[in-house]
Amino acid sequence: MSGKKAREERREQRLQNETQADSQERRQRLIRVGSAVAFLAIAAVAVLIVVSQNQSGGGDTNLEDTSAVNRELAGIPQSEMTLGDPKAKVTLFEYGDLQCPVCKTFAEEVLPDVIDSKVRSGEAKLEFRNYTIINEESVPAGAAAIAAGKQGRGWDFVELFYRNQGEEASGYVTDEFLTGIAKSAGVKDIAKWNKDRKSQPVLNEVSKTTTEAPELGFNGTPSFAVSGPGVTGVHPLGSSGSAAELEEAIEEAG
């Protein structure tokens, strides 16, 4: 009787050992599969990174001051080439050429104060108008800005362009350069932007404002004008101007 019991115990022990060995083997096998899965996951990340790098085309990496521009314009509404509350009674017009180095200086040193004190508060809105006087490359640059404006990024484009401006008329305004600016300016639909910037209505807009600038008595960039209840029509302010002078003109027009 005890011999039978001992045999049964041994059999049970053997079965238990076999089950444990099976379980151990299965676990080892699954960990090997898990390692392969980890390898595949890492490969998937590598593919995502390569795709991300290729599509960005380095557009962001060479641009200066993207953060500064975003900070300057954050929270201010934009429509077409107008920055600020569309209901603001006073409009300050900048007639500028994106290739113009003086305009760049104005964009960096004068306009931020005006934007902070008058545009952000809703007292005035700021409209960019192309006055292409440097050379023919200013036309596609201005058209690209208007096309960005159609996606609510006109001022991001203008400000980023100024801050990444090359040497005047040196041929830097290439499709690649403009696309880099547009991407960093936050233009989402690049295909639409490409179509818009080459469209006749947009190019006509550039030449229309370029023609009207001399009619206001302007012969250089940047030139400013103001409109509002306190002035008749579009009142030219001329080429020079500090932030204080522009702010005073806005107050007088209001």
């Binding site: 990340v45 557009g59 953060s67 975003n70 996606q151 991001d156 936050g186």
Partner: protein
Amino acid sequence: MRAPAEGTLRRIATFVATFGIGVATYIAIADSGGGAPVCLAGGGGCETVANSSYSHLLGINVALFGIAGYVLLLVTALLRGDGARMAGFAISLTGFGFSVYLTYLELFVIDAICQWCVASAVLMAVLFGLNAVRMIVYVGRTT
């Protein structure tokens, strides 16, 4: 040190993945229609990151990939068995790896930090930790 019970790991993963779906959905909605997520601490970081060309992959908002990842991780947290353990590990490793890359871009390429993206990266790191422990400790074992 004793590993936490698998049920505990799954419950935490369920909670974190649900939270992750919320964060990624907010980023996706805020970014759609030309907007950007609002950085709670101010500054233009979120807008800069959302405006960057890196915010889209093959024309699709990166946040949508995030939503998909968190949904899949939620499903793996709710399911039992080795399949769910393996899938949870693989998906969280992919998500974590991509989050590390995106955080690198924010710090060294785009030069701006978006708190929402950082929050998502932290959640993904936590999910990776939970799923790695679940896989290493419990794969091949019955629950």
